[in-house]
Subunit: 116 residues, 2 copies
Amino acid sequence: MENNGNNEYVRGTIKTIVLNLLAERGRMYGYEITHEVKDRTDGEITLTFGALYPVLHKLEQEGYLETESEAVDGRLRKYYSLTTQGSETARTKTHDLARFVEAVKLLLNPPGLATD
Amino acid sequence: MENNGNNEYVRGTIKTIVLNLLAERGRMYGYEITHEVKDRTDGEITLTFGALYPVLHKLEQEGYLETESEAVDGRLRKYYSLTTQGSETARTKTHDLARFVEAVKLLLNPPGLATD
DNA sequence: CAAATATATATAAGTATTTTATATATACAA
DNA sequence: TTGTATATATAAAATACTTATATATATTTG
């Protein structure tokens, strides 16, 4: 029963995480995204389907993602990939999130604070 | 007109940011908190009052904060400080946020990605 | 063969959180 | 006296997320 509740902090970052992963991997399907995120963060970040799918659909509506469905082993897979506009947004948002992360570190580890 | 919109990522971190600042500074008032956050992050993170005060009130309700009002220059100031329970929560949440931040970095800067 | 588990997408109801707008009040500068 | 800075506060609206649920196939386990 690892850690939970940490997902509190995922708020607001899901879109960017998805865009960034797709920028890196070319195309992915929903199920794959949740597993990749969990794997790469050692279970620290878990995207639930209830949160992920609405985000994917919204990004598609907004023109950042395009989809192609494929049947693999009889099961349907919906692959998502970035549009041109999506690539640009991915770059901007990833950069912004990286900046935010650095800013948070300034608040958590102020210069000159003893790490006792 | 610096950057805005980055506040998108503040979602979910406000509580922890406030608790952590109070752990560090002993006591602060709302207005001071927003300024401290803005200063220390070079304007990157801006806590709006509409977001901050509800959080302060909630943390007080939950028993994490206690308050004392003081009149300074005729103006009222409400100082917030951590309760014993609040100190413990501050420690836990700060630690969790630091872990989350590291996890996000794993997603944004995967090992072996050329920074072209 | 039946049941459980893993794979795979999807939505809806409820909750929580945040933005935006607004109200109140003092002090000081133009 | 108008605007800006200081200072707290709330309410309405929008957004985002959690939890629960539905559907369906493939594979493993008993």
